[in-house]
């Protein structure tokens, strides 16, 4: 394992990635706070009051975990997708390729950057939401585990997107046409128990359901799926995406001639 992960190189990539998103904080940290404030005001406050309770809590309390998770998903994904693709585009990825940095180290370094940004955004959005609704946390461990596993998974997904991407357009196609619909249909704004039985079954194919509900279980103790199932699904997807990313980098897909 020591040969697979080079710790100094890993630390370097991670610091570089964190420096990058902190340097452009107006693009990376401020927008989620503004977007989430709008969601809280419009969906939570204005419309939410008319909806009443959902899952035994106020609508505002119900959507807070989903909105935080939505920020985690989009920020982890876009951080790695844009950073790795820019490194390919500017060719500064060659700095790592000529050095004795293992493929696993590169993956973990970039994913670490994505997780760091997603975690920071999650904290910011949580603080913003605390202005609108009191946060009664049921399980800190569930929250931490779900956030970290989700951020890791979508960082890996962003990396896979960037590996295949040949232009900047290619890194916006998946977020627009796949990620956003899946997130909105992933139970952020509603409980899937409201759906007819058939659509409940269909919804369970969507992995984001498990993330949102796992996180919601940690916050308000209410979930449409068992927390243990949510964790298992997340772990399985993480292992699959990590293996795929590793194999692609080993083959040199998208990075070597």
């Amino acid at each position: 394992m020591v040969n697979l992960i080079h710790f100094n190189a890993l630390k370097t990539i991670w610091i570089k990635e964190c420096t990058r998103f902190l340097r452009i904080w107006i693009q990376t940290l401020v927008p989620p706070a503004i977007t989430m404030t709008l969601y809280f005001v419009i969906f939570g406050n204005l419309i939410g009051e008319r909806i009443g309770e959902m899952g035994g809590v106020s609508y505002m309390e119900f959507i807070v975990p989903g909105l935080i998770m939505m920020s985690v998903i989009t920020n982890s994904y876009s951080n790695v997708a844009s950073s790795f693709f820019s490194a390919k585009f500017q060719r500064n990825i060659e700095e790592m390729l000529v050095a004795p940095v293992s493929n696993l180290t590169i993956i973990l370094g970039y994913v670490g950057g994505g997780v760091a940004r997603a975690t920071l955004v999650a904290i910011i959005v949580s603080l913003v939401s605390s202005f609108f609704v009191p946060l009664n946390i049921q399980s800190y461990s569930m929250i931490i585990v779900t956030v970290l596993l989700t951020a890791t998974l979508f960082s890996l997904a962003g990396l896979l997107n960037a590996i295949f991407a040949k232009s900047f357009d290619d890194i916006s196609i998946i977020p627009t046409f796949i990620l956003t619909p899946l997130t909105y249909l992933g139970g952020v704004f509603y409980s899937i128990t409201l759906l007819p039985e058939f659509w409940q079954s269909v919804s369970k194919i969507n992995p984001i359901i498990y993330m949102v509900n796992g996180f919601r279980a940690g916050f308000i103790g209410v979930s449409d799926v068992a927390p243990s199932i949510a964790i298992m699904v997340l772990v399985a997807f993480n292992v699959a995406f990590l293996t795929l990313a590793w194999m692609l980098l080993k083959r040199g897909t998208g990075i070597r001639t």
């Binding site: 990539i13 340097r23 000529v98 050095a99 004795p100 040199g252 001639t257």
Partner: protein, 310 residues
């Protein structure tokens, strides 16, 4: 002889069937200052890309200080510093971040990397710019940054792919001095360049590659000794009356300049004797063209003619 680089039967065929390297064999001795020359598209950058593991080879073997690229890739990479042709650093990072990060990828601790950064950036005249973003640097500064970045992990073999392209002559000369210095300190250097004067001035040995094959691999001295004819430009006192030189081919450029093609074994004595006898006065003299440039063109053309007639 310890080899810094040993390439055997190196082949590269790109997708689509373009054969960039057709069995390259090359040896570079430890401590050497070696020039790898060739026209555009000859295979220089492909060769360098394979050594630096940026390009996957089709077949053949590459060894760097005895370490095999196929089985000991980490050891190969540790020995190697690459100065690429293009500015491939992150333009938004500062000079210091770029070099310190690069050292980090090689496993160098940040504290040591910062010490080395000060050393190399100072030597290359960039220390004052350490907190500037790379995109704000001039072309010459960017070139020097590439060199500093390649040296931070203190490689034993430094490969420079056209390091002085687009650099003014004054700066180019200071870069030459720097490269000579690190070569004296024990770093083996392989250089590709389009400035043949640069190769002649710096390098002890030379390889010429064309169409994916090495067509010449020898010492600079023995290569230059192959040159039979040299052209000299003679600045004269105003030329009055005709000049008849029997020993050489002569061209009069204007009323105070002539050009003479002199066979190596003939020498210049006869030329001066004849000019003096005819009442012409030579004020100064210089070698017209870069000698290596002539040879280079000759060798490449010769190789192509042989190919055509084969």
């Amino acid at each position: 002889m310890n080899c810094a680089l040993e390439i055997t039967g190196l082949r590269k065929t790109y997708k689509g069937g373009m054969e960039a390297l057709k069995g390259v064999d090359l040896k570079v001795k430890e401590g050497d200052f070696y020039a790898l020359l060739g026209p555009n598209g000859a295979g220089k950058s492909t060769t360098i890309g394979i050594i630096a593991s940026l390009i996957n080879k089709s077949s053949g073997s590459v060894k760097v200080f005895g370490y095999d690229l196929d089985t000991q890739i980490s050891d190969v990479k540790k020995q190697l510093g690459l100065v690429p042709q293009e500015f491939n650093f992150n333009q938004f990072e500062t000079v210091l971040q770029i070099v310190v990060n690069q050292a980090g990828y090689y496993g160098v601790k940040r504290s040591i990397a910062k010490e080395r950064a000060e050393k190399y950036l100072t030597q290359l005249g960039l220390w004052d710019k350490r907190n500037d973003r790379a995109r704000t640097l001039s072309g010459g500064m960017k070139r020097r940054l590439l060199i500093a970045r390649a040296l931070l992990h203190e490689p034993r073999l430094l490969i420079l792919d056209e390091p002085t392209a687009g650099v003014d002559i004054e700066l180019r000369r200071s870069m030459w001095e720097f490269l000579k210095k690190i070569n004296r300190e024990g770093v083996t250097i392989i250089l590709t360049t389009h400035y043949l004067e640069e190769a002649e001035m710096l390098c002890r040995n030379i390889g010429i590659i064309d169409k994916g094959e090495i067509i010449e691999n020898t010492s600079m001295k023995s290569l230059l000794s192959k040159l039979n004819v040299e052209t000299f430009v003679l600045d004269m006192a105003p030329i009055e009356g005709p000049i008849n030189l029997t020993s050489v081919v002569m061209r009069q450029l204007d009323d105070h300049t002539i050009e003479v093609d002199v066979l190596k074994e003939e020498g210049l004595n006869k030329v001066f004797t004849e000019l003096t006898e005819q009442g012409h006065k030579v004020l100064s003299m210089r070698n017209k063209a870069n000698r290596l440039e002539e040879l280079f063109v000759h060798l490449v053309e010769q190789g192509r003619m042989t190919e055509e007639t084969a």
